[in-house]
């Protein structure tokens, strides 16, 4: 079976009914999609399949043979964040971070198809995603900001260290 994962063609040896989540995490070492429940109930495993957000834990490999898979690793990296990633960071939309990958992929897809500018739109589109830490308010704000083009990526990426860690610095404009 074949997949294109974040732009790279891959040949797979996993059996055909292996979940896409297991293929990504165990065979390919792409660990951003998480095993939150493996029942399709939490959204932590959501990836894009040919641009559409789907639960990787419910998708058998054989059903996506030949498809293009996008995960968080394909959205952007610490020196080049996509708008939705920068918005999540700026708005503190991640606390423990475990649900974040799934939220990012679904949010990215929502914004790509022109949505996410209202609270109702975000809540409906992300209704399959569970977060136990943030209470969702910051997530909705982040998606709205990204959808409305109100993102300050250059401020968020101050002083990157080699592992993507940031040096502490004040965000310009905040009270000293």
């Amino acid at each position: 079976m074949r997949l294109t994962v974040n732009g790279t063609p891959r040949e797979l040896v996993s059996p055909p009914l292996t979940s896409l989540l297991a293929v990504l995490r165990e065979e390919l070492g792409v660990t951003s999609p998480k095993a939150g429940c493996q029942q399709g109930g939490c959204g932590a495993c959501t990836v894009l399949i040919d641009g559409e957000p789907r639960r990787a834990c419910l998708t058998p490999l054989a059903a996506v043979d030949g498809a293009a898979i996008t995960t968080v690793e394909g959205l952007g990296d610490p020196t080049n964040l996509s708008p939705v990633q920068a918005a999540f960071d700026e708005h503190y939309a991640a606390q423990c971070g475990f649900c974040t990958s799934g939220f990012l992929m679904a949010s990215h897809a929502l914004i790509e198809r022109g949505g996410g500018t209202s609270r109702e739109d975000v809540i409906e589109a992300l209704s399959g995603h569970v977060c136990r830490c943030t209470g969702y308010v910051k997530i909705v704000e982040a998606v709205n900001a990204a959808a409305n083009g109100d993102v300050h990526a250059e401020e968020t990426q101050a002083d990157m260290g080699p592992q993507g860690e940031e040096n502490i610095s004040l965000i310009p404009g905040s009270p000293a």
């Binding site: 995490r25 070492g29 660990t31 951003s32 998480k34 095993a35 939150g36 429940c37 493996q38 029942q39 109930g41 939490c42 932590a44 995960t71 968080v72 690793e73 959205l75 952007g76 990296d77 610490p78 964040l81 990633q85 920068a86 999540f88 960071d89 700026e90 503190y92 991640a94 423990c96 971070g97 475990f98 649900c99 974040t100 990958s101 990012l104 569970v130 977060c131 136990r132 830490c133 968020t156 990426q157 101050a158 990157m160 592992q163 993507g164 860690e165 940031e166 502490i168 004040l170 965000i171 905040s174 009270p175 000293a176």
Partner: protein, 467 residues
């Protein structure tokens, strides 16, 4: 102090949004085995027969462990303080809650590990179970532990006690007695990341334990105690916890994985399924709180009697600690000069309960605040004004005789009232936290007020002893 008041980025924010944050399940070690546990299907039963040999014989199974493999099977965190433990790492002869782990398997795949569990030959004899702790205290209730239905180690008592002032006199002097019963229920932490650990046996005989624990040094101690290994042979690697909320202090997987890693000499990982997380991992405890207040018609709380039953589940774990915190806060943010508190840690055949955000205190806060609303309703008084009147002030003492130096009850209540546009009488709007005087210092509160400069009032009868 440039950071105070500044808007700083989270140090882990970029890693979170780029998928680079490493959780235990993201750690990749070659040759890693998968762990599954055989869990009790019964709430309460004797194990009459167990044979793991058929499981060990399955191709792809590298190790199976039971209680026989654990050097120190029953360990509790208060052992070092001379308090006997009551919970086995792996069940020994009986099970006391549905989901209790009995044996664990390390195998090449999850599927093989699951098949190995089915191959274990085990037989049970069911026993009657207790689910309602009130019934658990009845004479003739099914026995869960041989020493009785409650945790017995609160100094010389089998319950936590707080005594202060003359409660009898308070009740005699009351215009009204207001009673209430409050029963907050169990809550599952439900973190997005389930319990998980990965243990790697190193060539030099040490163990590296990748753990989702919220309490690294604590878990290090637990593993060391069960294995009877020195601390310096065990290395814990923590990192980002994918949500804990108090549920990841129980060292739920590390020790079993350590045993399997030692036995198989291969890295082993145990990741709870979501089902295991719901059914077998600890929860916040259910509580039963009975409050009886002696009140005056002007709205003074003259005295309070409290009875708390804490549902510990099948084993005591941290429940005595949670109950103690609960006891300290049973007067809430309010000054009550005469109190009598009794709290019991009661066993049931449920999953052992543990900490969750505000361990022991959220339950008593719910009870106390709801009860105050009830008092206000009975007396026909405004619930916020009732609170402001009884609020902790500088120089007031708590039930366990700690002197208040900087209580914020009045300030916070007034600020909240203003924010939501809640109308208060003038005298209430002008209230402060200053030492009680005049109308705010009626006779029944004079005795509990500490002399200026005092920090703690120590009596010959201790907080946990007394009458």
């Amino acid at each position: 102090m440039k950071a105070v008041g500044a808007r700083l980025p989270r140090y882990d924010g970029i890693a979170h949004v780029t998928g680079r944050t490493q959780y235990v399940d993201d750690v990749r070690v070659p040759g890693q085995l998968w762990v599954k546990a055989l869990r009790s299907p019964h709430h309460h039963a004797a194990i009459t027969h167990i044979d793991t040999a058929p499981a060990e014989a399955l191709p792809g199974v590298h190790a199976v462990v039971t209680c026989a493999d654990v050097p120190h099977n029953v360990y509790g965190h208060l052992e070092a303080l001379g308090v006997p433990a009551d919970e086995p790492l792996l069940a020994d002869g009986q099970v006391r809650y549905k989901g209790q782990p009995i044996a664990a398997v390390a195998a090449d795949s999850e599927a093989i590990a699951l098949a190995a569990l089915e191959a274990i030959d085990i037989r049970y004899e069911e026993r009657p179970a207790v689910f309602d702790i009130r019934q658990g205290l009845d004479p003739g209730a099914p026995e869960i532990h041989h020493w009785g239905p409650v945790y017995p180690h609160f100094g010389p008592h089998n319950h936590r006690r707080v005594r202060k002032g003359d409660v009898e006199a308070a009740f005699d002097a009351a215009d009204t007695i207001v009673e209430g019963v409050y029963r907050p229920q169990a809550i599952e932490h439900c973190p997005l990341e389930t319990q998980v650990s990965l243990v790697v046996p190193e060539a030099n005989g040490r163990l590296t334990i990748y753990s989702c624990t919220q309490a690294m040094y604590f878990s290090l101690g637990v593993v060391s105690a069960h294995l009877e290994w020195p601390l310096n042979k065990i290395k814990f690697v923590g990192g980002t916890v994918g949500g804990g909320f108090g549920g990841k202090v129980d060292t739920a997987t590390e020790t079993v994985c350590a045993l399997l890693a030692i036995k198989s000499q291969k890295p082993v990982k145990w990741r709870f399924t979501r089902e295991e997380e719901f059914l077998a991992s600890s929860t916040r405890a259910p509580w039963h709180v009975e409050i009886k207040d002696a009140v005056s018609k002007e709205g003074w709380i003259l005295g309070r009697r409290t009875l708390t039953l804490h549902d510990s589940g099948a084993y005591s774990r941290f429940s005595p600690y949670g109950l103690t915190k609960h006891a300290f806060h049973h007067t809430g943010a309010y000054t009550i000069p005469a109190v009598s508190f009794d709290g019991f840690v009661v066993y049931s055949n449920r999953v052992p309960t543990t900490a969750m955000r505000g361990f022991g205190v959220t339950s008593v806060s719910l009870a106390v605040e709801t009860h105050l609303n009830r008092v206000a309703q009975v007396l026909g008084l405004d619930p916020l004004e009732l609170r402001l009147k009884n609020a902790n002030r500088i120089g007031d003492t708590t039930g366990n005789r700690v002197v208040m130096h900087d209580p914020s009850t009045v300030a916070v209540t007034l600020a909240a009232a203003e924010r939501v546009g809640y109308e208060l009488g003038d005298e209430y709007r002008d209230m402060t936290s200053e030492r009680r005087t005049g109308e705010l210092l009626p006779e029944h509160l004079a005795g509990q007020q500490a002399p200026e400069g005092e920090h703690l009032i120590v009596h010959s009868a201790t907080t946990n002893g007394g009458h």
